[in-house]
Symmetry: C2
Subunit: 249 residues, 2 copies
DNA sequence: CGGAGTATTGAGGCGCTTCAAAGGCGGTGG
DNA sequence: CCACCGCCTTTGAAGCGCCTCAATACTCCG
């Protein structure tokens, strides 16, 4: 019904291998983790607010969002997670805290026991390091978003989002950086960008009319990657994506 | 000329002890770290943008800010660090990356070798865990800020800042949560809140006139803590400050 | 073919910015 | 000791970006 658990863990191993040098034993112990594949429909909660939840969530397909719910009913998405990524890695350190998670599209996720994950990490310096770096990158992405939200106007924020998603899609092997499927409604994009759905619509229109993006349904195409990056003041360094993928292309 | 290195490390040990159960050996190995105390004048850089810097910065006195510099000369402060806190802990994991740091006031900092810190951490599961949790809290604070920047209007953002700073001041033993010295210019507060200095001034005036804060020079007093928290929609849980300090008061 | 969610467009209002200028406050040199 | 200078704070007026409210099309799916 969905990818085998083993291949899901392979995605995790691949990703962590980019961040630290894993020994064959490290790989073995990671591949030996207990997993549970779950399908989640769009807009369904994966982790409820305020609940203790001692699992790491590895995204297998679809998009998962980390968010904060506000009293007035609004919400803000603080991170989106693509296939192959671990959602809210910080929660593994602090199972009680952490942000709630929701599926933004129909998604398949793999649950990995937090307890096992911690045991594996503490038993291997290399894995510990990889987890640590992973968390640091997550925090760097968030810091960049805070800056965008605070200081950039809507057009720039949206351009930056598309640049970031594009690169991360490419890094995950999902698709090309300049031609990808972003299965989000404009309301969801608003929850990411801190904008109303109405203004998301207007801003996308402006980007389209400026020739910076082309949109077909929910496919985003970027005719001139360099130009969009310039508009967005996008500097990919914070993503810590190794250049190997650029070279391979 | 400044606090002895040993007492500076004591602050670190105290803080980490709140996050994980450290053994006497853990404490010893932390107290054995090499330190270097440095005085830094206001507005001086501690870590330059883009530089590799393999030290953790423990704030001893004053305020230190983590920020992102924008092309148009603006900057956004993504975190402020109080005495007793480690600034940009994520950098210990990724010495090449991380945000630049600047002293926001005259400050004294303690430099701790990143290499030694990693060695100490990897040698002890408890210390690893404490570091991990520390990073997770840092990320949680940042996530909350992203939400404030994205969704709250200036008055609420500012109220939230004062609530957060107050609690963290109290937690550091610096002062009371409702009566503390915040040695920042209005321009610096603007760099935190994502506002122009002009609007910071107007917003502070509004808070004063509403009786929510009292300001004398750079001393902030909060006459009604509960009321300010309500305005700010402030929920201290994300700070993960243990209740012990509340009880002790 | 009907209905629900999504996208699009318009008009008016509010919050924050920008530009500009004047008033405190502390520090420094004569 | 006072005059001065630079930085910070405070206030005003006008403009822009985004929001709110509202209404109309589109698209998918049963």
């Amino acid at each position: 019904m969905s990818p085998l658990p083993s291949s899901a863990l392979q995605a995790l191993v691949d990703r962590l291998s980019q961040l630290a040098t894993l020994s064959p034993q490290d790989v073995d112990s990671l591949m030996g983790l207990t997993t549970q594949v779950v399908r989640v429909p769009a807009n369904a909660d994966i982790v409820l607010p305020g609940s203790a939840f001692d699992h790491a969530i590895l995204v297998s397909s679809g998009l998962v969002g980390r968010f904060v719910q506000l009293a007035n009913g609004e919400r803000q998405i603080t991170a989106i997670h693509l296939p192959g990524e671990i959602a809210d890695f910080h929660r593994v350190a602090t199972p009680r805290a952490g942000s709630p998670l929701q599926a933004l599209t129909n998604a398949a996720i793999v649950r990995i026991s937090g307890k096992e994950l911690r045991a594996v990490a503490l038993a291997s310096p290399a894995i510990t390091e990889a987890f640590w770096v992973y968390s640091a990158i997550d925090a760097a992405v968030l810091a960049r978003w805070a800056v965008n939200l605070a200081r950039r106007e809507a057009r720039v924020r949206m351009a930056h989002l598309f640049c970031e998603i594009g690169l991360r899609m490419e890094s995950s092997g999902e698709s090309a950086r300049d031609d990808f499927l972003l299965e989000l409604t404009q309301a969801q994009i608003g929850d990411i960008l801190g904008l109303t759905p109405v203004h998301v619509n207007r801003t996308m229109k402006a980007l389209k009319e400026a020739g910076l993006i082309e949109v077909q349904g929910r496919i985003i195409r970027i005719p001139d990657w360099t130009k969009l990056c310039a508009i967005a003041e996008f500097d990919p360094e914070y993503l810590q994506i190794l250049p190997q993928e650029d070279q391979a292309a």
